[in-house]
Symmetry: C2
Subunit: 454 residues, 2 copies
């Protein structure tokens, strides 16, 4: 793990001059990390009753004298994590031997190299394990670049010029919604106020909502207790899982609405269990609890279905994204006015580059981005993306909240810092994706102590 | 390989009485089979310049005294085949120990069991390697069932009642286009004439088109020679690859149209290389060659993009499907009138069950199904599906043609039989998916002689 491992140590300042010499990626290692979260039903929902939050964890090694490493991960919920591990191995020959200076110099080409091998592309294309594997490596490369420049990722991105940002993006298949020229123009138009927005982020942070109150596996009394706790803690937005049984959903929504009062926001998350007609019918019943959004009402592949639901349930918004495979899906959701909240997933989209394209499309369409988080490491990732989005792209906090789940942060070297229910901007160089060495060893599957004793 | 292996042997008649005892799946073996087709540029197109046609090949073993085995495969183009192998291994615990009688008795539940494990689903969902792996196993189970009933798969399906067919289908996410009740009604309405259509298939076979004339890697003179050959052989439909360079496309289309005359059909296949606006612009130039369809003009994920292209290029049709992940995509393509030809892929959709749902949706919408084939084993698969579709679902030959590529059939125990450019219905029990033992050994990656000598 080199110098960045060890329980309490932050990533050290790296003693070199940027661009004084070439830094080359010398190796890629990948580890199968699984946390037995199914034991507590944390993370349980109507589609995923017993997830074991897991990561296919990438370590990019370099020849930098400081032992510089980049880290990224594919998030899964247990079985199948080994498939992401294998897919990451498949991309290994495409990344080893590349210099960080070359990568940084042509980020669009790097992204294409890591997503477009014609043979590997066939088993996606641009979706599923092969795309999640690309994302883990691409994010690890961004972690490397940010560490090399001694900036947290959000700051690295926020300091890039409009042209540099757009040069990171592959506009293939999205040019009918946004062109590179339009993207540059949008970024330039929004430059006024960027320093003030950055300062606002530093002082107050980015608003969040909590999903910790309403996991489907919890009893009503536990939900009441967690609601009380959430109110005491100052949360203004609370999300609950629905979709297993409508009468249960109504009872639980009623409990939460009663507990949080009319002034706080309630969001519902059905985790894809309804058909289109069912979603519309069930939301007619659940509308009385005035939810801000219904999340994942049906298949994440169903653009037209979401559009039909959105028309039927307005003014309740429709949200989706955590299982949306790539920019082409988000393009269509926006074109069809099918979603009112864009829930980018940092590890399912093809890494930072593809996220940038979605942020720009959402901004052009005036739709807020509320990243999916939770899982393992997702909060650590998306805080960078949302803060950057506010400073340079979306430039608004209206209807913007990042998901927050108070779980598994202890396994990261630089866990998120929350203050008044807001994410404070990370200060440590990198993408906050570095896991602790002892956690990696303990939860490595199947050899780690968490699994081998079973 | 048991009794079904060996170069020339057909699957033997199985000496038992159906339902006289339970047959249980005792093991699943999977092999990584790769053919170095990139050496000849066969299969080259604008997106896939150098494919090595490959199969993650499934063998379902049983306790049947005859040594009964079921075979299926995930088709890939080389690198990444190992990921399908690993994904098939991941489903292994879900299939071993099941009896064929139980599977046959509740095909919908079997399909759900093989596609819906909540943890494995996350790395799709219902797409990419994990779904292709499900398909290979599900198809191998159908191969088993057909062998057990001593019928070719098309005949097994054609003999099922409307209720039995519909009981194979998971209508989740498609009930807004077709319900089980509507599907039964459609099948019943089309029962008149089924015997005559079956007889017609037996006598004449299902029409095909050839893709062997215009692979992108071929020189003009080779294309002329192949065109001449195709005309001599009696082909009425010819497909050419486009998309690398527009002027080249125009020249090659012009050559082929000149060679085949106005009375034969020309189809163009862009293999996803264009953006939406580009596809529309390029097709305005290529329209003068009066193509029947433009295939894969852009991303296979882009329903709205295909719809825009279809509106702009009419009366030229739009076709897609070989990279379309599941029934939810096809539902939307049909709802949006985005495609005029449904190109199901037998190995990318979740096996026979999900194909049935797409055939029914296409029939309801009056859109012809022209299966994707070629690759390795795809012709062997889809002939069963198209012949069944004609007898029971689509019930028309208008604008219906199956792709045919004269390549790699020699590796199958029961290769397709063509007569007058038509697929003759297979007669051997099963799904025609059983590969020859010597081919499997020779092309096993990386240990087989085709690879180990390199």
């Amino acid at each position: 793990m080199g110098e960045v491992s060890g329980p309490q140590c932050a990533v050290p300042a790296i003693p070199y001059q940027v661009h004084s010499f070439m830094t080359t990626i010398t190796d890629l290692r990948v580890r199968d990390i699984r946390i037995p979260t199914s034991e507590s039903l944390t993370g349980s929902d109507a589609m995923n009753p017993d997830p074991d939050y897991s990561a296919a964890y990438v370590e990019l090694l370099t020849d930098h004298p400081s032992g510089l490493e980049g880290h990224g991960l594919a998030f899964t919920i247990g079985r199948g994590n080994e498939l992401c591990v294998a897919a990451i191995e498949a991309w290994k020959p495409f990344v080893i031997g590349q210099s960080l200076e070359e990568i940084r110099g042509d980020m669009r080409s790097f992204w294409r190299r890591m997503t477009r091998d014609s043979q590997l592309r066939w088993v996606g294309p641009e979706k599923g394990t092969i795309h999640m594997a690309s994302a883990a490596i691409i994010n690890a490369a961004w972690d490397l670049l940010a560490k090399l420049e001694e900036k947290p990722l959000w700051k690295l991105l926020a300091d890039l010029s409009a042209e540099e940002l757009v040069a990171c993006i592959d506009f293939t298949y999205i040019s009918d919604l946004i062109t590179p020229e339009e993207a540059i123009e949008l970024l330039r138009e929004r430059e006024p106020g960027r320093e003030a927005r950055e300062e606002e982020m530093m002082n107050r942070g980015f608003p969040a909502y909590t999903t910790s109150t309403g996991w489907l596996g919890y009893e009503d009394e536990k939900i009441r207790d967690l609601c009380r706790q959430a109110i005491d803690d100052g949360w203004s937005h609370v999300k609950i899982k629905v979709g297993a049984d409508l009468e249960d959903d109504i009872r639980r929504s009623s409990i939460i609405r009663e507990m949080i009062g009319p002034e706080r926001q309630l969001m519902l998350d059905a985790n894809q269990v309804w058909d289109v007609g069912e979603a519309i019918g069930n939301m007619k019943r659940l509308a009385e609890f005035s939810p801000l959004w219904i999340e994942e009402p049906t298949s994440p592949d169903d653009v037209l279905g979401h559009a039909a639901i959105a028309r039927a349930v307005a003014p309740i918004g429709v949200a989706t994204g955590e299982c949306c495979q790539n920019r082409v899906l988000f393009k269509q959701f926006l074109q069809a006015e099918a979603i009112q909240f864009v829930q980018i997933d940092s590890c399912r989209l093809g890494g930072v580059n593809e996220v940038l394209s979605v942020l720009l499309m959402a901004a052009k369409c005036g739709v807020p981005v509320c990243p999916h988080a939770g899982g393992i490491g997702l909060c650590e990732h998306v805080q960078h993306l949302a803060i950057f989005d506010y400073i340079r792209v979306g430039c608004s906090l209206e209807n913007r909240v990042i998901e927050y789940v108070d779980n598994l942060h202890e396994h990261f070297e630089n866990p998120v810092t929350m203050s008044d229910c807001r994410y404070l901007p990370p200060q440590t160089p990198g993408y906050s994706t570095t896991m602790r060495g002892d956690s990696l060893d303990h939860f490595e599957f199947p050899s780690g102590r968490a699994w081998s004793g079973r």
